[in-house]
């Protein structure tokens, strides 16, 4: 893939080797400016959506997980069951009515077309992360809460001074996964983004397929390489934590 991204059009068809005979970095420049809007814009859009999603998921899921995992209140068990239920709910089922909902609120294609993509994440709708954090919090010794309570801390104090600092690993895992998933997400971005300037990287990449011209294969591969780069770097930097994050998420059956 990396090889193809630096091959000339003729070579892409004829040279089957991994390495190009002739290094053609021009594909990158060409891909970058292939459309009316520079690919840089698409990257900025994707980065913005992904980073805000990370913040939303981490915040809202942590709050929900603290309530479901640590506090005692009426109907807690029932809400927990509902949360697990939504874990199995496929996103495709909700896409049509959510689209209609956001559209009737004037948020689709509005001044800020990313709101429909972001709002759900600030409302902890990604149950996977809530579940992951609940499981994590179950591992934090209860004695810490009790000690803080005896010292006069309210549930808010316990959250702020016990749970929040100790939840760092779960927060990091959530951050990594929500970044990567959002960066790669295609379905929802395809549905909600309709103006070229607002496109994120995955949606922009499909423009290459629409133009099906054989000569665009080089630039298409070049941009595909670039689009995987953030995920790849993230992965390299956090590899250890990713695997450990899954190990500690309580999936031990």
């Amino acid at each position: 893939m990396l090889g193809t991204s630096v091959k000339s059009p003729a070579e892409i068809v004829n040279n089957i080797g991994l390495l190009p005979e002739e290094f053609t970095p021009g594909n990158y420049a060409e891909g970058w400016t292939n459309f009316d809007v520079s690919f840089g814009r698409f990257f900025l859009n994707s980065a913005l959506v992904s980073l805000l999603t990370v913040v939303g998921n981490a915040l809202s899921c942590l709050l929900a997980a603290y309530a479901l995992g640590r506090l005692r209140f009426r109907l807690r068990k029932a809400w927990f069951t509902v949360m697990i239920g939504t874990l199995l709910l496929p996103g495709h089922v909700l896409i049509v009515p959510q689209y209609i909902l956001f559209r009737s609120l004037g948020l689709v294609g509005g001044d800020w077309p990313y709101l429909p993509l972001l709002i759900p994440h600030f409302l902890a709708t990604e149950a996977f992360f809530v579940f992951l954090m609940v499981q994590f919090m179950r591992g934090i010794p209860r004695e810490l809460d009790e000690a803080a309570k005896i010292d006069g801390a309210s549930p808010y104090g316990v959250f702020r001074h016990v749970i929040l600092p100790l939840s760092r690993p779960a927060l990091v895992t959530t951050a990594i996964f929500s970044f990567i998933w959002t960066w790669n997400d295609f379905f929802r971005q395809l549905v909600y983004l309709s103006t070229l300037e607002d496109y994120t990287v995955p949606v922009a990449l499909t423009l290459f397929i629409d133009s099906t011209s054989q000569s665009a294969v080089g630039p298409m591969f070049a941009m595909s390489v670039l689009s995987l780069l953030p995920v790849f770097l993230f992965f390299l930097a956090f590899q250890r934590m990713l695997v450990e994050g899954i190990n500690t998420s309580g999936l031990k059956g």
């Binding site: 089957i16 909700l94 009737s104 104090g157 689009s227 992965f235 031990k252």
Partner: protein, 326 residues
Amino acid sequence: MALTTAPGRSPRTGPVGPRPTRRGAGRARLGEGLAGYVFLSPWLIGLMGITALPMLLSLWLSFTDYDILTPLSEVRWVGLANYERMFTADPSYWHAVRVTLTFALVAVPLKLAAALGVALLLNRTWRGVGLFRGLFYLPSLLGGSVALAIVWVNMFNRDGAFNSFLALFGVEGLPWVADPDWALQTLMVLAIWQFGAPMVIFLAGLKQVPVELYEAASVDGAGAWRKFRAVTLPMLSPVIFFNLVLETIHGFQGFTAAFVLSNGTGGPVDSTLMYTLKLYIAGFTDLEMGYASAMAWVFLLAIALITAVLFSTGRFWVHYSDGDDS
């Protein structure tokens, strides 16, 4: 209200409060109940607004001819017409069901087998094992991305890298993705190749198997295969079950690769028309949102049914060692 202490009051910095009396403890309980709902509120709002309300809306829409262009107030109630059309008058619907079932039935077991096999290989300590775990996991991470699907489709083109590779051995290549008989298989291979996520979960599960069990089995003279059958598989069954449920649901939802391969049409000749793609086309290309909603509801019921079936069969082969799994 019943908040006995101010938010943010902490064990370290807060002033020393009165020692909790019985009454104080009671009030704290009440405070905790309120706090529970305060912390839960974003999720509750999301549940009501972004999940429950849309579900009701879509249930209603599934009995209408809503097309997004006409305002909601002028929508016509059509009763079961959408469902009738789906089951009796739209052959491409049944075709999408078949494609999706074929995909899930073939790709999911093979993916899980690959994941378990590689997890067993990587569940040892040798130099560089971490690197290999990472390498096998990477395709999963990149999995749903458009970029990977694009590369994959190009590799399996008539004159793509895969055929060129076959040509080295004098094997005549196939027009994989352009051939209706092979396009879906190509998608399956792509899906199976992304076995990293279940593999990591298997690895975590393998670490939980007590070493003593293997030692005891060795003492009893069990060979490698026997140990795998008698110790690893039963001990791992909850994790296998978890992965099976997750990957089955996941398998039914494949969208990106099918969309990219067919440029959003489900082609060639509808061979990659996955259910979700059919739903997308109905809702967002043909703008038949009522019809798409009906499809979504059948999809939801089917997934619920399949999950229920998995869970009911799970009782017979999933083994919980501590007898308590909540």
